[in-house]
Symmetry: C2
Subunit: 194 residues, 2 copies
Amino acid sequence: MTEKIVEYIEKFVKLTDEEKQLIGSCFKEVKIKKRQFIVQPNFTAKYRHYVYKGAFRAYVTADDGQEHTINFAIDDWWITDYNSYIFQQPATMFVVALEDSIILQIDFETEQEIKRQNHKFETFFRIIAERGLAFQQRRIISNLTQTAEERYENYVSKYPQIVQRVPQYALASFLGMTTEFLSRIRNKRISKKS
Amino acid sequence: MTEKIVEYIEKFVKLTDEEKQLIGSCFKEVKIKKRQFIVQPNFTAKYRHYVYKGAFRAYVTADDGQEHTINFAIDDWWITDYNSYIFQQPATMFVVALEDSIILQIDFETEQEIKRQNHKFETFFRIIAERGLAFQQRRIISNLTQTAEERYENYVSKYPQIVQRVPQYALASFLGMTTEFLSRIRNKRISKKS
DNA sequence: CGATTTTTTGAATCATATCAACGTACGTGG
DNA sequence: CCACGTACGTTGATATGATTCAAAAAATCG
């Protein structure tokens, strides 16, 4: 089961058989049922989660009770409350399974240890942090420059696999609009096409 | 001049005198005049810039010509188009000096080399990427959950030094609103206070 | 100083939210 | 495997936060 994550890591840094063995052993496989939480507010996020198979949604709830989706993660993506995990502070986000899923998780202490021990793992985590940074920068730009409809069209064309797998209210709150408005956008689009 | 950046790096990783010497020599000091660009669209961002003294603004221009501020950087902050720098692809952003400034810049190849050579530098850049990630996550949450007025109040209380130093139209576009609307918010606030 | 850039103000308009009600689909227990 | 309840998506009417445009006022700069 850890073969997949080793393969993933090898896309970024070449590993010896011994290193593959080591890094594989750092991750624990966990089955998560739909609607189960893997991160909750006020608890420190102890793990960084790699999605082996399944789908997750990270969100916050505003003062008025509304949920705002911060991120999605499906097969081969990572998810956690980074602010909580990196600084080992209480989380502000929920991370919940949208389907029955399998994750591979590494805990904070173990991650620190293997980064300290082996330059290659330090490099690997540096690379995924940088990629996350670039990814989020693109999202910030999209949010600032595009209308609700453009953000939706853009997201559908870039991440069709996610659009298909997540509930519409979650997608709407990710894109910064209400469920109702997203519904109207979709209907408009369908009637345009036909 | 490079003492300051070495001191900054030492906050995250302890260095020997030799390493201090080495990392200091990787940065080049450059004076930048107000309104001068250090990153421009279509050119690959060759450098990561540390602001020794001064103020910068990173922004994109949308199809309709409107400018949207992506980031600010003042003394002791870093700035570049990360998407361009990390992947060495053509930039989409401008980065411009808001005042006469002094920066310390490291070029992509040099950075790669010192990260490869010394575990500590790899660690350092991993840490700043992670912090950037956490920082941007907070911004995304703020944009999704708060009204224009709340975003402004929040930003003023967290980054008063920046609010004081950047033009209002730049701040407005950073916070995702028009200059006019920000002006109205500020006036409302002043009259409330008195 | 005059010229340019930035901020302010007012009025009209627009994109999106809200609220309420209804239709649909799904998953869960019997 | 059906039926029921809850979760999800749609639609219409109305409300509102924020934008747009235009023009004046204020601040900054050479």
